[in-house]
């Protein structure tokens, strides 16, 4: 069986500085992959190339066997990839429900269908009681949750999570982890998460790719990664310090 997402040797330079060089990894349908690395390792660059924010200088990205390299973010979304933003971007002037309806319109034929889908997702993520509030009035954890709800409403095959746990308290992180586990188990949602919060990655990811200075330095299960000396040196050491 071929991979759902195949990242094949993508590189990107900014003003001569190599932010990512020949990064490759694959993600099977139904899997949860964590992409980790210290600050400036190139995680967000890789993420942005997959999400279509900018095209890679070289290399290809394939989704479901189709080449999506260099497509626009909206085309990437329609190819079945949903994403969240590290710095949350709620539609502040719209209600929580309207935010999610906008996402649901990507997967629904009519506005009425999108409304139903939005209500379903809001229930799922425990935001139903805040549905009529304007999005700008939400607390940070709720805004993060709204990011996820909006992306889920597009009914992606693959969900890209950009540091969705950052800034959350441990109990909130646990709640998020539980939600993602449930989604993965019940609807087979494939997840690629970029994280700095090790606790979440270790709990959630089945496999982990470690980036450092733009290159993949290790790939393996959470246990293997935790035991890898190179990773400990560059990354875990930083946290211990």
């Amino acid at each position: 069986m071929s991979a759902l997402l195949a990242v094949d040797g993508i590189s990107k330079s900014f003003r001569g500085l190599k932010a990512a060089s020949a990064v490759s990894f694959e993600l099977d349908a139904g899997a949860i992959l964590g992409l980790i690395g210290p600050n400036g390792a190139g995680k967000t660059t890789v993420f942005n190339m997959i999400a279509g924010v900018f095209p890679p200088d070289e290399g290809r990205v394939r989704m479901d066997g189709r080449d999506i390299t260099g497509k626009r973010p909206d085309q990437i979304c329609r190819a079945g990839i949903g994403r969240t933003f590290q710095i949350v971007k709620p539609f502040g002037g719209l209600t929580v429900r309207e935010n999610v309806i906008v996402g649901a319109l990507a997967s629904c034929k009519t506005v009425a269908d999108a409304e139903r889908e939005a209500d379903r997702v809001l229930d799922l993520l425990g935001l139903a009681d805040k549905a009529r509030q304007p999005a700008h009035a939400l607390t940070l954890p709720d805004r993060k949750c709204l990011e996820v709800a909006r992306a889920l409403a597009t009914r992606p095959k693959l969900l890209l999570l950009d540091e969705v746990m950052a800034g959350l308290r441990p109990t909130e992180t646990d709640r998020m982890v539980a939600i993602f586990r449930q989604l993965n188990r019940e609807s087979g949602l494939t997840i690629l998460l970029i994280e700095h919060v090790m606790r979440a990655v270790m709990a959630l990811a089945q496999r982990i790719v470690v980036l450092n200075t733009g290159e993949v330095i290790a790939t393996g299960t959470p246990e293997e990664i935790a035991a890898d000396q190179k990773v400990r040196d560059c990354y875990l050491g930083e946290e211990a310090a």
């Binding site: 999400a51 626009r72 973010p73 909206d74 979304c77 329609r78 949903g82 994403r83 933003f85 971007k89 709620p90 539609f91 502040g92 002037g93 719209l94 309207e98 309806i101 906008v102 996402g103 319109l105 990507a106 506005v111 999108a114 909006r150 992306a151 597009t154």
Partner: protein
């Protein structure tokens, strides 16, 4: 579903407006025509800025294009203005499309985009000032038929007829906005207004959606321009495309509340009535008070921007208990 409070109030307002010419005198009708005309234009501009978040400060361009398309076709060929409206709307949509295409494709954003719209409007103003087929700088005068009956087909007649025409147009643009706001496109626009990157990540083709906003807004504005041409009968490029018209046109929407359905109407009525009052006062004081209306507008804009940036309507809607029902 039972008829909502907003709907009932709207029907009440409509009935009052329909009866107004039977109750009031010619002066009242002429003021109401001005109010409705400004409400119509504010509503059309609101589509672009209020709904889709794209600031245009050159909307006089579309007023002028519509006015000249309708006026010149009638002047030269006797074409009915209703056809002129279609032609004017098509031309304006095309020009708006070109400006939108250039602006969005080349990533001209925010204030720069606003300046781009001004530049096109001013460029066209000077162009039309030298365009002899439409009268150049000496103006275009539509023949006034002194008939005692109203000709609705050619829009020649008494003020009351113009009043019902602009009332119909305003109602139509209101219904169009209401329909679109609840539609897929309406959601797309508001998402783009709030955050374009997030909108795009949710699968919205932001370029197409913004183009739709510019072109629709331009086309509707041009229809208003045709009405303007036939109501005033005289066209000068200097005033039809004027920068201050672009500014006056947006004030109603800003004061009433951008992005809402009732805001532009409320704002346009308030502003027009105030302007009329100030003009009257200035006339009584005699010479030297020409600028007083504009100063009044400027001060009101200042107060609104400083104290109530979301406009008058949202607060009023809450007072009237309509906030749950308003579409945005």
């Amino acid at each position: 579903m039972a008829m909502g409070r907003a709907t009932r109030m709207l029907i009440g307002l409509m009935v009052a407006l329909l009866l107004a010419p039977f109750i009031g005198n010619d002066y009242l009708v002429s003021v109401l025509i001005l109010c409705l005309f400004n409400a119509y234009l504010a509503q059309a501009w609101n589509i672009m800025m209020g709904f889709a978040g794209q600031l245009s400060l050159g909307h006089a361009l579309y007023v002028g294009l519509g006015a000249y398309a309708g006026g010149a076709l009638f002047f030269h060929y006797g074409t009915p203005p209703w056809i002129g409206m279609i032609v004017g709307a098509a031309i304006a949509a095309l020009v708006g499309g070109v400006i939108g295409f250039l602006g969005f494709r080349f990533g001209v954003k925010g204030v720069y985009f606003a300046l781009l719209t001004i530049a096109f409007a001013e460029f066209t103003r000077i162009l039309f000032d030298h365009f002899t087929w439409v009268g150049g700088s000496s103006g275009l005068y539509l023949p006034v038929v002194r008939a005692d009956h109203d000709n609705l087909l050619l829009l020649r007649g008494r003020p009351a007829m113009f009043y019902y025409v602009i009332l119909g147009l305003s109602a139509a643009v209101f219904l169009i906005c209401h329909r679109i706001l609840g539609s897929r496109l309406g959601y797309y626009w508001r998402a783009i207004r709030e955050d374009q990157d997030a909108a795009q990540a949710l699968g919205i083709d932001t370029f197409k959606a913004k183009m739709a906003a510019v072109m629709l807004s331009a086309a509707l504005t041009a229809v208003g321009g045709v009405f303007y041409a036939f109501y005033t009968n005289t066209l000068y490029a200097e005033s039809a495309f004027a920068m201050h018209r672009s500014i006056e046109l947006i004030l109603g929407a800003i004061i009433g509340g951008m992005g809402t359905l009732f805001g532009p109407i409320l704002g346009a009525f308030l502003l027009t009535l105030l302007g009329e009052l100030l003009t009257r006062l200035a006339e009584n004081f005699g010479h030297g008070f020409e600028g007083v209306k504009q100063i009044g507008y400027g001060l009101i804009l200042l107060v609104i921007i400083a104290l109530r940036r979301e406009g008058v309507w949202p607060r009023l809607a809450k007072r009237l208990g309509l906030d749950g029902e308003k579409a945005s």
